[in-house]
Symmetry: C2
Subunit: 376 residues, 2 copies
C-alpha cells in the first residue's frame, strides 16, 4: 500500500494502523513464547494448533449462539489461502465456479488461477439474486454441466456493503442442497457490525453445503495472515490432508500461537467492541459527507457493518474513466468494473472508510463530489 | 509429531526442541514489534517484506560468495508452499514433473496434488544419474512430450544424505538449458554442513533454469513456516502476481519481520555455527553406533551434512515389512519405498539423527541391529 501524500485514498480496504492493538499483541507474543515456545516454534498439526482451534470454537459460541466442533475448524493463512485450498481439494481446472457479482476482486483472481470458469450471479439492493442463481443452475443442469461452488460475501459485502437477509439465506441453503452446490461464504466482516448483529452465517443453515471463511485480518491485524475455515469434518480432513499442509504443518503456526494467547488473555472481546465503535463513527462521517457533497443522481446506501460504501454514479458517467480526473483532484477509489467478471459495474465505485481519519474522508467526499459534478 | 514414550523415533526429521533459539527469537519478536510493529501487522508486499529480503541477500553473499539481487527473492511460507507456488505458475495438471528418486516424500504429494504426472530419475551413490535424466528427456522429446520441471534435493539429500558433486551439477545445468527444463532445487540443508561447505547451489550454474528453495525451518525454527525462493526476476514476479499473494500479501509477513530483526541483530551466524557442531556430533554418534550394531550385509554412508542416514538392508529383507517388528522392539524409521514413486526402495530405510539425544540413538541403533539380525 502506497499512500500518496496529499491524496485521499478511498481505494484501500485496509484497517487504520492506529487501530492495531500493538502492545497487547506484543504481550501475547512474549507470553506465548514464554509459556509454550517450543510448541510455537516446532512443526505443527496440519489442521492448526489445538490451542487456537479451541479459542475459535469458544468465540463462535458467542457469535453464533452455538459452538463449532473442533473437527469443523482448520487454521489458514487468511481467507485468500483458504479459498485457494478449497479450490485445491474441491475443484479441477475447467470446473465452473459461480460468483456473486459484484464481489471481492482478488477472490476472482484466486479462482481464475485455479483454472475455474467463472459465471456471475447478479445481486440487487438486498444481495444475491436467488432467482438468477436458481435459473443459472437449472440451465447448467439442462446442459449436463455442474457448478462446483459459489463464492459469496453475504455479510457487509466487499465491495457493496450489502448484507443478505435471513430469508434469502434460508432460500440459498435450499438451492445449495438441491444442487449439491458448495457455498463458500467469505465471512470476514461479521464481527464488525454497527447497530445490530447480522443474520447467522450460512453454515447455520446447512452444515453440509457451506464452507465459512473467517479471518483475524479485519478484527485484529492483517499482517498476521491468519484465518480459519469452518466446514463439514470430511472437508476439513481433506484440506488437512493436502500435500502442503501434511509436509510442513499449518502455514500460520507461529502467529496462531500468538493469537491463541491473545484470545486466552481475553483481549479480543474488548478490542472488537472498540473497533465497532471506531468504524461506525467512520461510516457515519463518510455517509454524512457523501450526503452533503455528492451531486444529484448519485446513489448509495449506508452499510450496517464492514469497511465499504458502494456508490452509483449518475447516468452517463463511467467510474473507470472518471478515475483519472479524480486522481487529478487527488482522491482515489476502485472502479466498480474491477468487482465484476462480465464487464458490469461501469457506473459504480467502491469507497473504503476503514483506513482514513474522519477529516480526511470529509475532504475526500468534497473532492469526489466536485469531480462527479463536473462530469455530470 | 507424537513421540511414543520408550520408543526411539528415527522417523521424524525434525530439529531437537532444545536447539531452538527461543530466547533470541523472543527478543527479536519484541524488538520487531517495538521498532516497526505497524509494518509487521499490516498487509505486506506480495514479494515479502523488503527487510527480510535484504537480510537474505546479504546472507547469500556469505554462503555463495555472491549476493542475490533483491528482485531474485520471494518470501514463502516454507519450501512446501514454495513448491506448490511454482507448480501454480509453471505447470498445468497433466504436465510431467521429473523427480529424483528417492526423494523427499511429501514433495511428491505436493506435486501430485497439482495433478502432475511424476517420472522418477534414479540416483546412485553420487546422487542424480544424469545419464538417465538425459535419456528420459530424449525419450520424451521423441514422443513430443515435455517435462516442465525436475524436483531434486542435491545437497545433503532428504532422504539419502547424498550431495551431488560439482561436476554433475555442471552437467545438470547443461541438460536443463538444452531441454529448457526448470530445476527446482530444494536447498534447505545447505548451511548444515559438518566438515566443509557443499558445492554451490544449482542456481550458481544457471540463473535462468533453476529455482532455489531455501528455508528457516532447519536453521532456525520450523514453526515459523518461513522460507524463500531465489529465481529469475521474471519468475519471481509471476509468483508475486498470483491471486493469493496479490490478495493478502505474502503469507508469512509477521514472522518475516521477526526473523529479519533476528538476522539484523546478527544472531543467525552464531546459531548456525552451533547447529553444525550439534548435528555433527549426532551424526558421529549414530554412525559409530550403526557401525557397531548393524549386522553384516547392511550398508550406509556417513552424510556430510543435513539430518539423515540412508541404510540399505541385507538382501531379502523388506524395510516396510520389517517396520512392524522394529516397532515391537520400540524403534521406528521411514521405509525407503515412501520416497519412491515407482515402488523402489524396498531394501532401504531412512534414519533421522536431528531430533534425538545421543544416548537414545545408541540404544535405537542397538534395537535396530537386533531386529535386522533376527530377520537376516
Amino acid at each position: 500500500m502506497h499512500l500518496r501524500p496529499g491524496y485521499v485514498e478511498f481505494a484501500w480496504g485496509h484497517p487504520d494502523l492506529h487501530l492495531l492493538p500493538l502492545e497487547h499483541l506484543r504481550h501475547a507474543a512474549v507470553r506465548a513464547l514464554a509459556d509454550h515456545g517450543h510448541d510455537a516454534l516446532s512443526y505443527g498439526a496440519a489442521q492448526g494448533p489445538g490451542r487456537l482451534i479451541e479459542q475459535i470454537c469458544a468465540r463462535l459460541e458467542q457469535v453464533d449462539g452455538q459452538a463449532a466442533r473442533l473437527d469443523q475448524i482448520l487454521i489458514t493463512a487468511g481467507v485468500s489461502h483458504a479459498l485457494d485450498l478449497i479450490c485445491a481439494i474441491h475443484t479441477c481446472p475447467g470446473n465452473i465456479a459461480l460468483v456473486e457479482s459484484p464481489v471481492y476482486h482478488f477472490a476472482l483472481r484466486i479462482l481464475r488461477d485455479r483454472g475455474l470458469e467463472l459465471l456471475p450471479i447478479p445481486t440487487d439492493q438486498d444481495g444475491l439474486r436467488l432467482d438468477m442463481l436458481a435459473q443459472t443452475l437449472a440451465q447448467l443442469r439442462r446442459a449436463n454441466r455442474l457448478a462446483r461452488l459459489l463464492y459469496t460475501v453475504p455479510t457487509f459485502s466487499n465491495p457493496t456493503g450489502i448484507t443478505l437477509g435471513a430469508q434469502r439465506r434460508s432460500r440459498l441453503a435450499e438451492i445449495a442442497a438441491e444442487h449439491d452446490l458448495l457455498v463458500v461464504e467469505d465471512d470476514v466482516y461479521r464481527e464488525l457490525w454497527f447497530d445490530t448483529p447480522p443474520p447467522p452465517s450460512m453454515i447455520m443453515y446447512d452444515q453440509a453445503h457451506v464452507v465459512r471463511l473467517g479471518s483475524f485480518s479485519k478484527i485484529l491485524a492483517p499482517g498476521l495472515r491468519l484465518g480459519w475455515m469452518m466446514a463439514a469434518p470430511a472437508l476439513i480432513s481433506r484440506a488437512a490432508g493436502s500435500g502442503v499442509l501434511t509436509s510442513g504443518g499449518g502455514l500460520s503456526h507461529f502467529q496462531a500461537h500468538v493469537v491463541a494467547e491473545y484470545m486466552r488473555l481475553g483481549l479480543l472481546d474488548a478490542h472488537v467492541v472498540d473497533l465497532r465503535a471506531a468504524y461506525k463513527a467512520r461510516r457515519d462521517t463518510l455517509v454524512a459527507a457523501l450526503l452533503k457533497c455528492l451531486p444529484a443522481g448519485c446513489h448509495f446506501t449506508a452499510p450496517e457493518g464492514g469497511f465499504f460504501i458502494w456508490v452509483r454514479l449518475p447516468e452517463g458517467i463511467d467510474a473507470a474513466a472518471l478515475l483519472a480526473r479524480a486522481e487529478e483532484a487527488r482522491v482515489a477509489y476502485v472502479p466498480g468494473a474491477h468487482f465484476h467478471v462480465d464487464g458490469g459495474g461501469q457506473r459504480e465505485l467502491r469507497l473504503a472508510f476503514s483506513l482514513l481519519p474522519p477529516q480526511e474522508m470529509v475532504e475526500g467526499a468534497r473532492r469526489l463530489g466536485h469531480v462527479i459534478g463536473a462530469a455530470s
